[in-house]
Amino acid sequence: MARELLKGNEAMAEAAIRAGVEAYFGYPITPQTELLEYMARRMPELGRVFVQAESEIAAINMVYGAACTGARVMTSSSGPGISLMMEGLSYIAGTEVPCVIIDVMRGGPGLGNIAPSQGDYNQIVRGGGHGDYRVITLAPATVQEAIDLTVLAFDLAEKYRTIAVVLTDGSIGQMMEPAELPPMREIPRARPEWAVTGAQGRPRRVLSSIYLDPYEEEKTNKRLLERWRQIQANEVRYREYYLDDAELVVVGFGIAGRVALSAVRAARAEGIRVGLLRPITLSPFPYAAIEALCRQAQAFLVVEMNAGQMLDDVMLAVARRVPVAFYGRMGGVVPFPEEILEEIRRLARHLPRPEEDPREAWFQRLSLVV
């Protein structure tokens, strides 16, 4: 298909439609609203379901109900709205039905602002809802990736009967880039064997997240864990740039990873042996890939648009074998390549000790500018 100039939010909406989404339930919130509005136009045209819910809580529970029928369903929101979905997400996880959530992050905490941010990494990756559950988290850095990962999200969610989140932010949601949309898929008529559709000519089915007996609940927790282990084994994804001979490794996801790429190129132009690892699946996180890089890298630089959330995952992988530095902007500020280039130069000049706390050094420097 031909390349079109597409806005991230609308591209993800159309990608979901081509992937065969049968129902969308959502509520307006900047910087995600274009996705909702696109669905409001297109879904009825296609005879599919669009409902503007009265709230994000209603939206996630409509998704929950629709998912129980075995249909491909989704919602999308941002910060405050996502927080309201936490109970519903925990129920969906506990009921083991698949669904897709697109989270277009904005500055927080609280009402904050509508600028691009990565402040909700922990909320999504470490589970903002109650109970032990994990969700697949995909982080696009371009409009094309936003399209591809939206489609992938549906496939993985169904394959593993889990929640898949496309975790992006206002920058990807609002920017336009040339991208190619996938062909329109057929919507499968058959429903999975667990779906609730009316007990016609078969024993009745029940979908619920309640297990009053702790030992039964523990079995369920274990089942979720088993599934998560498969996901960890099969679904880790990331992209590498200039890593072959890299002595310094920058790690960043989404838009931050993309800004870092410009900085890495500039640093290379200055002769600095630096590369970039951009995690595409934030969970499962590419621990092994980063651990492997410890053998070649003299230091890591983690770049995020938050106070250091993915940083913990990198630290867990590196385990202080080599030094880790951190650079973060917060509250909706998108770093410029120049800032990251400066950090790379500093690392090239002087390596911190592995036992140093990267947050400490960062905070000291931050205090000078903010």
Partner: protein
């Protein structure tokens, strides 16, 4: 069960437990009319031949295990969100019969937003609302339906309307929304009223079968355990304390169902 034969002559079965009710002992307290409501719904689904087309949505409350008792497909919703889940299901499967079964804490307190908007949207589902004037499952706290002066564990000196507010009449509120089709309040406190309650439940499902939109039946129900009354005393308490606050009747009957004999 085979017909029982009394010594000298034959008897014929005039009533038996509906098959839609699964043959298990329920977890409800002795004399709790949740059980009556269950039986009436089961009878209606059976009489209308809807068992195989029906999907139930259980809610959080003593009826959380309702899915164990009906021989139909079921899901269990988060506290108060049953109408939203039902909306998701019905929009995907418009030709199925979808009903929620919710208590008064679930529907009238935490679930107020969902029930009103589901009614306003005119979702073609049926809601069975059990009003027992308190939170049963958690041990008898005040509900939005707790009557003035009623003692609960969170209104130990009786509900003081100045501090804890006034009871909310859901049936009347929902009847005023254009999206609702059939809305009634009935009571389960004696045989006569139980018969009327069944009629209302029948009407509600008839409305859904005809695609008339949101149908709602509020049932005044007992909670002997948390009221600290015997099952029989509880039946009287409904009549004396609840009905004055929650008048019985059909608040909205769609023209299509007027004069329908059930």
């Amino acid at each position: 069960m085979a017909t029982v034969t009394a010594p000298e002559m034959t008897y014929e079965k005039v009533y038996e437990r509906p098959r839609v009710l699964i043959e298990v002992h329920t977890h409800y307290c002795p004399g709790c009319t949740h059980g009556v409501a269950h039986r009436l719904i089961a009878e209606v689904l059976e009489e209308m031949g809807l068992r195989e087309r029906t999907i139930g949505v259980a809610s959080v409350g003593c009826s959380v295990f309702a899915y164990n008792y009906f021989d139909v497909d079921f899901v269990e919703a988060p506290h108060g969100r049953a109408p939203a889940m039902a909306t998701g299901i019905k929009r995907m499967l418009p030709d199925r019969i979808v009903f929620t079964y919710q208590g008064d804490g679930d529907l009238a307190s935490i679930g107020m937003g969902e029930i009103i908007h589901t009614a306003a949207r005119g979702e073609n589902i049926t809601v069975i609302f059990i009003n027992n004037a308190n939170y049963g499952m958690t041990g008898g706290q005040m509900a939005p339906t707790t009557v003035p002066g009623q003692r609960t564990t969170t209104t130990p000196n009786g509900r003081d309307v100045r501090r804890s507010g006034f009871p909310i009449r859901m049936a009347e509120m929902l009847a005023n929304l254009e999206g609702s089709s059939y809305v009634a309040r009935r009571s389960l406190h004696d045989p006569k009223n139980i018969r009327l309650a069944k009629k209302a439940i029948r009407m509600a499902f008839e409305a859904q079968v005809r695609g008339l939109g949101f149908s709602f039946v509020e049932l005044l129900s007992t909670c002997p355990t948390n009221w600290g009354l015997s099952p029989i005393e509880a039946m009287h308490w409904v009549e004396e304390m609840m009905i004055p606050v929650f008048p019985l009747g059909e608040f909205k009957v769609p023209p299509e169902l007027k004069g329908l004999r059930v």
